[in-house]
Symmetry: C2
Subunit: 326 residues, 2 copies
Amino acid sequence: MTISDIAKMAGVSSSAVSRYLNNGYVSAKKKEKIKAVIDKTGYVPSRQARMLRTKRTKVVGVIIPKIDSDSISRIVAGISEQLLEDDYQLLLTNTENDYKNELKYLKVFRQDFVDGVILLATAITNEHKKLIKSLKIPVVAIGQKVDFISSIYHDDYGAAYAMTEKVIEKGHRDIAFIGVPEWDVALGINRLNGFKDCLKDNNVPFHPEWNLTGMFDMESGFDNTKKLMEMDKRPEAIFCVTDTIAMGAIHCLNKLQIKIPDDVAVCGIGNGRTATVMEPPLTTVDYFYKSSGIEGAKMLLEKIERPKSPLMSTMLGFELIERESL
Amino acid sequence: MTISDIAKMAGVSSSAVSRYLNNGYVSAKKKEKIKAVIDKTGYVPSRQARMLRTKRTKVVGVIIPKIDSDSISRIVAGISEQLLEDDYQLLLTNTENDYKNELKYLKVFRQDFVDGVILLATAITNEHKKLIKSLKIPVVAIGQKVDFISSIYHDDYGAAYAMTEKVIEKGHRDIAFIGVPEWDVALGINRLNGFKDCLKDNNVPFHPEWNLTGMFDMESGFDNTKKLMEMDKRPEAIFCVTDTIAMGAIHCLNKLQIKIPDDVAVCGIGNGRTATVMEPPLTTVDYFYKSSGIEGAKMLLEKIERPKSPLMSTMLGFELIERESL
DNA sequence: CCACAATATGAAATCGTTTTCATATTCATA
DNA sequence: TATGAATATGAAAACGATTTCATATTGTGG
């Protein structure tokens, strides 16, 4: 079934059918005829032919480092929801945390296969920058503030600051920090700075020997907590830069029979779905991940529809969620 | 940059360039020339034009009920990994647990936009069947055994049976079951049957009043456990049909200060990532979700390459993981 | 009722590939 | 060295839509 088959059956030209499909000038009489034929045949225009001609695919590429992560899957859920609404489709590419794959997919997208790209990157290198600038399609970043493209990100500094304030408020002064490498600016630098600045503003000493760094997984939380607990002087509270790390930390403390929060308090950031069922439930901050996905998608779609629309960055707020681990 | 630009620059016909790109007959001399021009210009053939001509997109559609779920995101991770390897791309559609969206996406895919579909459905209705049969592209199901298409699924019956055996082995005879509705055949029927049959084979009574049903979330685990604990006679063990439910159950018992596993034992199925950090760590069965994603993708790709290849169903095994909740 | 804009129409060009077709050249084998 | 198969080549058709172009018809305000 092609457009000209339909045209023939309806006794009109294929231009007329095309115009019918795209709301162009068609007389009421013809509209009716065409509609009848299409209804009868169940004709659906070929997407590829349309793509070739219009240069638009109605597909958005999404590059993520890892699908099986709580925060990322929630962001993707948000993106997906918004795209569904606007009749776009979601092409997912998973870099498996491999930085090279990120560049690879950006290159794939350089070919005109998607109308825009959403990048959930942990680090934006110069290579990224060059590549992105070479794309003819809009790119939006989620989770990191990027200066040369529109982005939507979380108030990492503010959240860490607020959480630290809460820790201090609870009476703790010996506070350890389990973080991640600096190449992840949002988590590795901004959150750490929020923590440090808050300590300083409250005249609470910062202990470099309690400032540990690891990967993004539960093991890091477990291992680093163990390290902390083996030290001559133990901290009274552990600030974990993510919930995943905090979950590892809590598990470790439980195993060592150290009471939470009485002996050692723990907090995280991100409000992972399972944070509530930890023993004790984890005090953390909620980041509205799904919303950031929705907003990111909206931002991109706007950029696709109106390429001239200005670059912008939106920072999403957060909400401190007090449970029992602090 | 089009293929004929390249052809002109290399002093050959566009057919030659096309053949070069598709490993057709091209003399060594021309190959060299063409390669030089392509390298210099960075030419990449238009995907849409190629699609239009070849009727193949190198894209696989994946329909999932929900992205932010542990098991599903792991399956998707597996699919993604395999597709990456074979140079296919992944078009993700999220039905948000809405059955109508599932049908809607199948219809979208009926248009020739993807080369194949992987369906992670919880229930296959007659409507599904009809729609799937009307597709001209192969469909593979993951997670449920489906008789009219290739599928890859887990040994739900066997896993539940084995786990129940383990529960009995631990000396429990009063065993409750928190399940899900029957429209999910794998979880709602097969696992329940494995449980029941094992009880029968071991002469352990089945208590209908302890057989509760809820949704797939932690709340169901929490609420139903609470219900069980408020009964006149409490069970000694709770068999949760998923880890998510088990996590809710453990949380509830902890809150009620009921000792696990001494007062009440708990087990789940699925080996969710966070099962290990529960207090106590959850005894469960591992399902190799990622592998099922990989195998499912392989199955589909095979079907795409060789449409005549036979229908087949693969059942993946499981591994019982003993931790401390049982 | 004239002029000019808005609406309506189909033929043909176009998007950028792959594939078919017709033909030419090379290669191996009898 | 004759012959058929394998290799090589470019012109042109094909894929299935949208868009341009040229032209016809209708509507509207003065």
